[in-house]
């Protein structure tokens, strides 16, 4: 019965599933960035949401002041924000080497407050519109649902970003160093690898991923100073559910949680804001280390 799937017309069901998939793609890219950073710095980057917002604002700023289009912004904004991230790592986070990792969390929390506070002061809490790129306006009717091109592109682009990250980590020399640095930074340093530089690069890359997600999000959600702060808490829950052990784990958990959220929006809308936190609670009871996590 394609006209009436479990009491809902397929357009509604698949429409919400697509939205869920898009959210899931953002969860995947953001939690992947968190995992990259966590691997080398052992900290959870609380500023991740703020830097995601910064990515979206960079795209908006590049378009408004320099006339750069979406496709250029997709490359330039992550590079800019990633560079900013490297400065943060080099001049602030590095000074916390050797103290409890909780201080790294607190430092990035403070940074998030500063970045978001400055943008609220500059732009107000309301959003700036960012147009969908011309090539991706419109969509296609698949029969059971309408698929806007841009939304499909967001999912594809996110998966590409995750795939590139996987390739860098598993198939390149620098990826091998990064993995070695995660396991044992002192030994890697003894082999003559510049671990501090590697750490800076890892932080920059993780932040760049967040900014990339921000640019992708810009045409969907409005570009607003608070777009990242609520999202990042959900991403934290996703990270707890999946564990930060593997790239595949982050992708699968991210997409899965997005889909669960989408389904909840159809069948029990009131619970859709909290369902991921519920899943987190259940996972903590049944499998405390997370679905893909290694037991400590």
């Amino acid at each position: 019965m394609l006209t009436d799937l479990l009491g809902f017309p397929p357009q509604v069901l698949f429409g919400q599933l697509l939205l869920g998939l898009i959210n899931g793609a953002f969860y995947a890219v953001l939690s992947l960035g968190l995992a990259v950073i966590f691997g080398l710095l052992n900290i959870v980057n609380f500023a991740h949401g703020a830097l995601y917002m910064l990515g979206a604002f960079s795209a908006w700023g590049l378009a408004t002041f320099l006339g750069l289009n979406y496709w250029a912004a997709l490359i330039v904004a992550p590079v800019l924000v990633g560079g900013f991230g490297m400065l943060i790592e080099r001049f602030l986070l590095r000074r916390l080497a050797g103290v409890d990792h909780l201080y790294g969390l607190l430092l990035t929390f403070g940074l998030a407050l500063v970045i978001e506070g400055v943008f609220i002061k500059l732009f107000g809490a309301s959003g700036q519109p960012y147009p969908t790129p011309k090539a991706l306006t419109g969509g296609i009717n698949l029969g059971f649902m309408f698929l806007p091109w841009y939304r499909g592109w967001v999912v594809v682009a996110s998966l590409i970003a995750c795939g590139v990250t996987w390739y860098i980590f598993e198939r390149t020399k620098i990826g091998a160093y990064l993995r070695a640095g995660t396991e044992n930074p002192k030994l890697l340093q003894a082999f003559g690898v510049n671990v501090p530089l590697l750490t800076t690069l890892a932080y920059g890359y993780g932040v760049g991923l967040a900014a990339f997600a921000g640019v992708l999000a810009a045409p969907i959600t409005q570009v607003s100073p608070l777009m990242g702060s609520n999202l990042i808490i959900v991403v934290f829950a996703v990270v707890v559910i999946g564990g930060m052990g593997s790239i595949m784990g982050a992708v699968v958990t991210g997409l899965g949680m997005g889909l669960i959220e989408g389904l909840t929006k159809v069948y029990w809308p009131e619970a859709s804001a909290t369902v991921i936190f519920f899943v987190m609670a259940i996972v903590l009871v049944l499998r405390p280390a997370g679905l893909f996590g290694r037991t400590a």
């Binding site: 607190l106 707890v240 903590l284």
Partner: protein
């Protein structure tokens, strides 16, 4: 000796203060001081960074407000009901959160608090965006009118002192010693035969209950419980107060709360009012980078070095 003198001076100051400073501001300080001291119990002495304490503070604020305004409970019982509700929330959150350590503990408590926040937004008894307004202060034991700010202040002070004493006692008790042993070296505490999880959970529940006491008291003082109380910004603020005053010191969090409340009050009326979150963020960064011992921690180090 210096510590005792310090406490005596602080007590005298608190008793005399409402004659010189606006009592409502002082009560705000006392509520947040209590909140921060309760929070420090789990961070400073248990070594667990909770990023979700606003849920206990805000949850208790709602329960106390509802109990007093809608059910018509006497003020004292309403406050106790709020604290008890926070304790129950703390038990539920704690049982989940202590399954992980370190940064995961922080992320889990934050996520659970966000869940509570969303529930508060949609729950019928919280008044949504408007909050729970016009909660009557009532009469203490049916006799003393708490509408009078002076009476309310000394009532608040009494509760604060009692809770502060309880926290100090807990820290110096055998229970507190074991808690510190777990913080400093968990595997050793396990090998000595301590049920580590039970100690952590008990400390977490106590911390949540006292944070709830602070939230409930705040509702009575301001006659308002709102979403602000339960927002994650509030969780961050209490971390900042504790950090600024001195993590793991008894009086530090109260000092930190005093500084932050005074600062907010100072900035609120000036040209910098829109910059308060930025200022707090900058203080956060500075504290973490170069002031990790906090005011009381630095003071203690200075006294030990000089005398």
């Amino acid at each position: 000796m210096t510590t005792k003198l310090g406490y005596a001076a602080a007590l005298l100051l608190l008793i005399a203060a409402p004659f010189f400073v606006y009592p409502v501001l002082l009560m705000k300080f006392l509520c947040f001081a209590l909140f921060a001291c309760a929070f420090n119990l789990i961070l400073g002495f248990g070594g667990l960074l909770s990023f979700g304490h606003a849920a206990f503070f805000g949850g208790a604020a709602y329960v106390a407000g509802h109990a007093i305004k809608v059910w018509g409970l006497p003020t004292e019982l309403g406050i106790l009901a709020g604290a008890a509700a926070a304790g129950v929330m703390g038990l539920a959150a704690g049982m989940l959160a202590i399954r992980r350590q370190g940064i995961y503990f922080a992320m889990i408590t934050l996520a659970l608090a966000q869940m509570a926040y969303f529930l508060f937004i949609s729950a019928p008894f919280t008044g949504g965006e408007n909050g729970l307004q016009g909660v009557p202060r009532g009469r203490l034991l049916g006799m003393i009118d708490l509408q009078d700010n002076m009476a309310m202040y000394y009532f608040t002070l009494a509760i604060f002192l009692a809770a502060f004493w309880l926290i100090a006692r807990t820290v110096h008790s055998p229970f507190g010693q074991v808690l510190r042993a777990i913080r400093d070296n968990e595997p050793r505490a396990v090998s000595l035969g301590y049920d580590v999880e039970r100690y952590k959970l008990q400390a977490f529940v106590l911390s949540a209950t006292l944070a709830g006491l602070a939230g409930a008291l705040k509702t009575v003082v301001f006659q308002l419980a709102s979403l602000t109380d339960a927002h994650w910004h509030m969780s961050g603020e209490v971390v900042l107060m504790t950090l600024l005053g001195g993590v793991g010191t008894i009086a530090g969090p109260a000092v930190g709360a005093g500084i932050i409340v005074a600062l907010q009050n100072l900035l609120a009326s000036g040209p910098l009012s829109a910059w308060v979150p930025v200022v707090l963020g900058v203080i956060f960064v500075i504290c973490v980078l170069s002031f990790r011992r906090g005011v009381i921690g630095e003071l203690r180090a200075f006294l030990q070095k000089s005398f």
